[in-house]
Subunit: 532 residues, 2 copies
C-alpha cells in the first residue's frame, strides 16, 4: 500500500525565536538549520529578513542542503503596489527556496489591525503569492487566527485559504495563533476546510496554550492536513509551538500514522532524535526536560516496584515504543548487560578499543554512574568521557601535574565614576622534575586562568599553540549560589577539530579549571604526544 506524503515544517528559527529568554546568534542559526536538515524535515523557516540585521545576514545564503529554506514576512500592505513594498522586497531579495507570508484571516483583525477592507486583504494575499511564484519560489501563507476566524466568519476564513491556493501557493497554513483551540474543534474545522481545499494543500500550525499542541496537530492530520509545523523541543512564544521532537516519533512509530504516511525522517535519523533534542537544549544552555516524551532521560525509566518483575520478563509490555527506536535508553537497567552494551557501543563510537569481556568495563560503568550522580554529564562532553574511559582501560599519560592555582577578581571605584577592574591568575604546574609558574591577566577569572595555564606548558607548549576556546557554558543545579556548578567547554584547533570537556564543582572557577585541563590533556592524547 502506498503511503501518502506528510510534510514536516520547522519554525524553530522563526516562531521559536520568540521564546522568552531565547536569543540565537548567527552561528546558532546556522547550526540549527543543519541539525534540522540532517534530521530530515522538509522545510526550515529561518526568520524574518529585514526584521533585524542578524536575520538579514542569515538570508544572504541558503542555509540548508536538502530541506527547503524559507523566509517569513508579511503580505504586501494594502494601498501600496507590490513593487513598492519594502517587506516583500526583502523577502524576494533573500536566498531561499520558499516564501512564507503571514496574513490575517479573521475578519475582525482585518478591520482592527490592518484597517483595510476584507477584499483588499484578499488582494494583498493574491498579489504577494504571485510575486513569490514569479520569482521562481514556492509560496505559502500563514493564515493567522485561522480557527478563531473560522468560528467568527467561516466564509471569510475559507476565502483567505482559497485565495492562497488559487493564487498558486503550495500551502495554506491554518494557524491556531492564540493556541486556545481544542482538538475536537481542530478536527471538525479542518475536515470542513478539506471539503473545499484539498488536504494536500493544507498545513497545521498549533500552539500549546491548552497543552494540546501535539494533539491538535495529530487531529488536523487525521482530518486531512498534510503538512505539520512545529519546533524543536516545543520552543515558541508563550507556551510554545507543537513539539516536533514529540510528533515525529508518533508519526513514524504509531501504526495509524506510520502505515498511512511517509515522512522525510528515516528510521536511522529517528534514532538520532534524542541526541538532536539534547544538543538543542545544550545550545540553548538549558537543562533537558527529563520527562519529555520519547527523548527525556526518564521517558523509559520505571520506579514502580510492582512493574519491575514484569519489566524484566518482557519490557515491551511496559513500553509503548522501544527506547532504541528514538535513540533513548531504558533507564532502569534490566540487566547489567544493557548498561554494558550501551557502554560498549559508546566506546566503539569513540574508537576506544576494548575487549567486551574486560572486567575493567564494570568499574568504568560504576565510575560513570557515580560521576553522573555528582552532576557530570558526558553527553555533551565526549572528550572528558574518552579520557575517563582511557584512564580506566589503559591509562592516560601523566603529562603534567597542577600544583596550585589562584585567581583574584577585583573591582574598585578609584575616582568618582571611574572604576578599576582586574582579574589575575597564577597557575603552578610540574612536568617531571621541572616546575613552571605562570601568571596572566584576563577580562574575567576563567579567561585569566586559561591564559595562565596555557602560557608555558614546557615541552607540550608547541602542541597547544593553536588551541582555541570556542564555547563556554555554565549550568547551576539545585538553585542558589551554593549549588553544584557544571561547566562545559568546547575547544577547537583553529581548523576543523573540536572537542568538549566537562567540569563539576560547587565552585564555578574550579569546575572551569577542570574542564580547561581536560581539554589540553585530551589534545595531547589525540596527538599521541608522549609524557615527559
Amino acid at each position: 500500500m502506498t503511503r501518502e506524503r506528510l510534510y514536516l515544517f520547522d519554525t524553530t528559527l522563526r516562531d521559536g525565536a520568540l521564546t522568552t529568554g531565547v536569543d540565537f546568534s548567527l552561528d546558532d542559526k546556522m547550526n540549527i538549520a543543519l541539525m534540522l536538515d540532517r534530521l530530515g524535515v522538509d522545510y526550515v523557516e529561518g526568520g524574518y529578513p529585514g526584521a533585524n540585521p542578524l536575520d538579514t545576514e542569515f538570508f544572504t545564503k541558503k542555509r540548508t542542503k536538502r530541506a527547503k529554506f524559507c523566509a517569513f514576512g508579511m503580505t504586501k500592505r494594502a494601498g501600496r503596489s507590490i513593487g513598492n513594498d519594502p517587506g516583500v522586497a526583502g523577502l524576494l531579495a533573500s536566498d531561499t527556496d520558499a516564501i512564507v507570508y503571514v496574513a490575517k484571516s479573521w475578519d475582525y483583525h482585518v478591520h482592527v489591525a490592518l484597517g483595510c477592507t476584507l477584499e483588499e486583504n484578499l488582494e494583498c494575499i493574491a498579489e504577494s503569492v504571485r510575486a513569490a511564484i514569479d520569482s521562481g519560489r514556492e509560496a505559502m501563507v500563514d493564515l493567522e487566527h485561522f480557527f478563531d476566524g473560522y468560528k467568527a466568519n467561516p466564509d471569510y476564513a475559507l476565502a483567505c485559504a482559497a485565495t492562497t491556493i488559487r493564487s498558486g501557493a503550495r500551502w495554506a497554513v491554518m494557524c491556531d495563533t492564540n493556541g486556545g483551540t481544542l482538538p475536537h474543534e481542530i478536527e471538525r474545522i479542518v475536515a470542513e476546510v478539506a471539503r473545499v481545499i484539498p488536504g494536500d494543500r493544507l498545513a497545521i500550525h498549533a500552539h500549546n496554550d491548552t497543552g494540546n499542541a501535539v494533539a491538535n496537530s495529530l487531529a488536523a492530520i487525521r482530518a486531512g492536513a498534510r503538512q505539520v509545523q512545529g519546533t524543536l523541543n516545543g520552543l515558541g512564544e508563550r507556551c510554545g509551538n507543537a513539539n516536533l521532537v514529540t510528533l515525529i516519533p508518533t508519526l513514524a512509530l504509531k501504526d495509524e500514522f506510520a502505515k498511512a504516511f511517509e515522512i522525510g525522517v528515516t528510521p536511522e535519523a529517528l534514532k538520532e532524535i534524542t541526541l538532536v533534542s539534547r544538543a538543542f537544549d545544550e545550545l540553548l544552555n538549558r537543562s533537558p526536560n527529563r520527562h519529555a516524551p520519547y527523548v527525556g532521560a526518564s521517558a523509559f525509566a520505571t520506579k514502580a516496584g510492582i512493574h519491575a518483575s514484569a519489566l524484566a520478563k518482557d519490557p515491551r509490555t511496559y513500553e509503548h515504543v522501544t527506547p532504541d527506536s528514538v535513540g533513548n535508553k531504558r533507564a532502569i537497567l534490566v540487566s547489567d548487560q544493557a548498561g554494558r552494551s550501551n557502554l560498549l557501543s559508546e566506546l566503539a563510537r569513540l574508537g576506544v578499543e576494548c575487549d567486551p569481556a574486560d572486567p575493567r568495563l564494570n568499574r568504568l560503568l560504576e565510575t560513570v554512574k557515580e560521576r553522573e550522580s555528582q552532576g557530570f554529564a558526558y553527553e555533551g562532553a565526549d572528550a572528558s568521557f574518552e579520557l575517563l574511559a582511557r584512564a580506566a582501560l589503559g591509562g592516560v599519560p601523566d603529562f603534567f601535574e597542577v600544583e596550585s592555582f589562584h585567581v583574584g577578581v577585583e573591582r574598585k571605584v578609584v575616582a568618582p565614576g571611574v572604576t578599576y577592574s582586574a582579574s589575575q591568575a597564577v597557575v603552578k604546574i610540574r612536568i617531571g622534575d621541572d616546575g613552571f609558574i605562570s601568571a596572566a591577566e584576563g577580562n574575567g577569572p576563567v579567561n585569566a586562568l586559561d591564559l595562565a595555564l596555557r602560557k608555558d606548558l614546557g615541552v607540550y607548549q608547541k602542541h597547544i599553540e593553536n588551541l582555541v576556546l570556542r564555547d563556554y557554558r555554565v549550568r547551576v543545579f539545585q538553585g542558589g549560589t551554593d549549588a553544584v556548578t557544571r561547566v562545559l567547554i568546547e575547544f577547537g584547533d583553529g581548523d576543523r577539530d573540536t572537542w568538549s570537556t566537562v567540569g563539576v564543582s560547587g565552585n564555578v572557577i574550579d569546575a572551569s579549571f577542570q574542564a580547561l585541563v581536560e581539554g589540553i590533556v585530551y589534545r595531547l592524547v589525540k596527538l599521541g604526544v608522549p609524557a615527559q
Copy 2:
C-alpha cells in the same frame, strides 16, 4: 440547563511520587493534601499504606477536609482468602473515605505477571471491592493497561470493568498505563465501553508518553467518562500523568466543557491555580516551567512587536482566556523585536506610573535597546527592568555605594592526594558617611561575594535578613572565555515574593555582583525604605 457533575481525582501523592527524583516527606504529603483540598478536587489519593512506614503513618488519619481521601493498593491475591491478605488488610485499616484497588485488565498480564486464570482475576476484583464496601467505604478499581488490554482482548477488559461496577464499586478507572494510546483511540474505546457501562461510573487515567495526556483525558470525557485523574504540574513516572493544572482551567473556562460540566473548583479557587502550581514547584525545589499552559510566567507573554500593539488595542483577540481567570499576569516582553507599545504596557503591568507622552520614555527605550545589544535580557529580570525604568523616570534612591570588592579563589595540592581549596571575598560599601567592610568565605566565589555583601548593610540590614537566592543562571555569548557573560539571579523573601535581576559583563564575577546588588536595591525600593 443543568450541567453534569465531572469529578477530579488527584494522584500526585501516589503516582506522582513515582517521579524520578521526587521524595515526599510526611509534612510534604500533608501540605499537598490540604493544597488539593482547597483547590477543590474531589478525590485525593494519598499513597500505598503498607508500602513503606511513611505511607502507613500518613494513613493513620484522614488528611483532607472536603475531598475524599483515598488509599491505593492491590486487589487480593488469587488463592488466598480476603481475610488473609495483608495488603487488603492494610487498606481496610487506613483512615480513608475510599479505597482504590489496582487490577490487571490485559489478559496477557494476568497470565504473565499474576500467573492465575482470567476468571480468578475477576473474582479477586469482585471480592476486594465488596470488602471495601462492607467496611463502609467507596471503592474504585484502576484497570491497569486497560487500553492495550482492550485492543488485545476487548471482552476481557470489558469484563474487568463490568465486574468492578457490578460488585458495587463507584468507579472503573481506565488506565493508559504505558501512556502510548493516542487521543482518537481513547475516544473510540471509551465510547465503546460507555455503551456497556454508564459513563458516570467511568474514570480516565492518562500518561504523557506521547505528549497527549491532557488530550487523552479530554477525549475520554467527550466519549463519556465522568471522572478524570491527574497530578499537580503533571508529575508522574516517566513522562508524567495528565496535568490537572492544565486540565482544570480548560474544563472550567472552555465553553464546550464549562457549559456541559460542573466541577468542584470554583471560579475563586481557579484564580489560585497559578499560585498552587508555583507553590508545588517550590515544595519540590524546582524552577517552575515558564511555558506551562495557563500558569507559566510566559503563558501570557508576547515578544512579537506586531502582536503587542494589537494586544494593547484589545487583549482578548490575542489571549484565549484572560490571565486573571487563572491568577496569572499578562507579560509583554521588552525586547529588540518590540517597541514603545510594549514598553508602556510593561510599565503599566509593573505599576510604574508614567505619562505616555513623557519624553523620557524614548530615552528609556533607547537605553533598553542599547543594554539588550550589550547582552542584557530583561524578559527574565523584571526587577532589573523596573529599576532601570524607575531610574529613568523618576529616580531610585542611592541606598549605598559599593566602593570595591575583591574575590580570591585558590586551590592547591598540600600533600599527595590532598587538596586545599578556598573562596574568599571582601566587599567595601559606603552608606552616607559610614564605611562598611565585610569579608566572607563561600563554597565558590559568587557565594562568598553574596555572603560578604549581605553581612552588614548597616541600617538596611534588617530589611534583607530573610532574602534568599533561589536560582542562579549563567549564559555566555559569542563563545570562548573572553566573551560576554549574562547572569540571572532569582531572589525570594522566604515567603511568596520572588524577583529576578540580570547582570552582564565580560567577567562572570562582575556580572554576578551586579545582579546581587540589584536584587537588594529592588527589595529596598519595594519596601519603600528611605535612603540614608
